[in-house]
Symmetry: C2
């Protein structure tokens, strides 16, 4: 049970780590921060989002909860290098957008007296850095707890409590496989499509004629180029399968246009219209 | 020059025809309406959007401007069947989303004493019917005049005046070929992508986890299934070329994931981010 006295440390004060610090401290919890960039630490301090912070990994020493808001590989490397600094009995969690490899990597080496409960707040943005932190966005977002059979109720509850304090709209639970499959389709495939669509044409006149449709489909083409290639590679098998399924579907539709198969196209559009209604807000 | 005394008739009181009637009458112009559906005519009358209306094609008889807000084939058929009812010297225009075939079809048979100036208000929506008419949307939309070498300045000016009265955000001019190529990429390809994405998976659990990305990319999967297959077929050559270019791009990105080519993906993302900035509003 997380109380106002629980010492929580966030490692990585970027967009998400900063938003966590903001949301938790706003709710009255005691948060500390660690970041290699002293400016991110100063920013969080000035805003009152952390009670203290530094660039020293050793400052996790007396934390009961440690939240890692790092890129997947950086998180695994941090644990590999510094896990001896974690106090016995502490619970660690994260925010990474891919899960199977991260969970396997962490659990393969984590000390037995520390427990890792994986979580994915689906609230990333096209911007990076703590200056874009905004915990109010969590109220529109989903939070997924990705527990394994080895996780204790205590750790799962801690992840859930964090999500509740941060007021996520929906808190769900998925296996690592189901999480990665879902993310491969809903998030990764859509980003691949948007990036590809934007790369197809360099005609500068298009902007004059672009309406809402093209704008909608390419908003996420504005993307963090340091993070996403890593996320794609970590989820390579599922993502490539989703790209293949989508390309098959697209090829089928192309054939219908070629055949001037009005009824076939109509059927696809009736299905898409019907299914899309469930996603209206 | 269109004046408040010019008699304007709109043939087809649907979403776009209704919005035209609303916008023109709000601005003090005299508008009449024709529709095969008496309820659409009554609706426009009750709202005060038309001074009079009927389902009788003969009521175009003394109109100086006739705006056809019909599906492409229905427009061509109307002209074929009823063009003798148009008064000598009248200017006709339209709202169809594909141009080469429509312009060729109309001009191949149109009486020499009537002039057709093609136009495309890029303000379609996922809904159909006059009950969704809303001329305020034009202020965010583009209007494209698609003139040929045979068009007179008088007719081009008339199309421009209509767009100005309706307060379109941007009024441009394109050749039929450039128009159809642009629409094939910006509008038709994006709709094909959205419909296909929605058809790939019927997993009802997805809606629980869907964030903004998937919602953005599939908004236009809610589509008028009676209209769009016709638009796709009318622009088949250009649309299929755009689908092919997009699929090549997608296949290239897929290969980069397979090769774990981080630098290649990064480069694509830097380009997409840079290009997308020009489309920000």
């Amino acid at each position: 049970m997380i109380t106002k006295e629980t010492k929580i440390t966030i490692v990585g004060l970027g967009l998400l780590g900063g938003s966590y610090a903001q949301g938790l401290s706003n709710a009255g919890y005691t948060v500390y921060g660690i970041d290699i960039d002293p400016e991110a630490v100063s920013f969080a301090k000035e805003k009152g989002w952390i009670a203290g912070g530094s660039n020293d990994p050793a400052s996790v020493r007396d934390s009961e909860i440690v939240i890692f808001a790092l890129y997947p590989k950086t998180f695994v490397e941090w644990i590999c290098r510094y896990q001896d600094l974690l106090p016995a009995g502490c619970i660690i969690t994260d925010v990474t957008g891919v899960k199977r490899n991260v969970i396997a990597g962490i659990n393969a080496m984590l000390r037995p007296d520390v427990e890792y409960i994986a979580a994915h707040p689906m609230a990333g943005r096209e911007f990076k850095g703590i200056q874009y932190a905004d915990c109010s966005r969590f109220r529109q977002a989903n939070y997924i707890i990705v527990a394994t059979k080895d996780n204790t109720e205590k750790a799962i509850d801690a992840a859930r409590e964090i999500a509740e304090i941060l007021q996520f709209r929906y808190i769900g639970e998925l296996t690592p496989e189901d999480h990665d499959r879902m993310i491969g389709f809903l998030s990764q495939l859509t980003h691949v499509i948007a990036v590809s669509l934007m790369n197809v044409s360099d005609n500068p006149d298009l902007v004059k004629y672009t309406g809402d449709s093209f704008r909608d489909l390419t908003r996420i083409a504005n993307i963090n180029a340091d993070l996403w290639p890593e996320l794609f590679i970590e989820n390579k098998d599922y993502l490539m399968k989703e790209i293949d399924l989508f390309m098959d579907e697209l090829a089928q539709f192309r054939q219908m246009i070629d055949d001037e198969n009005v009824e076939g196209m109509k059927e696809k559009m009736i299905i898409s219209t019907e299914r899309r209604k469930a996603f209206d807000r």
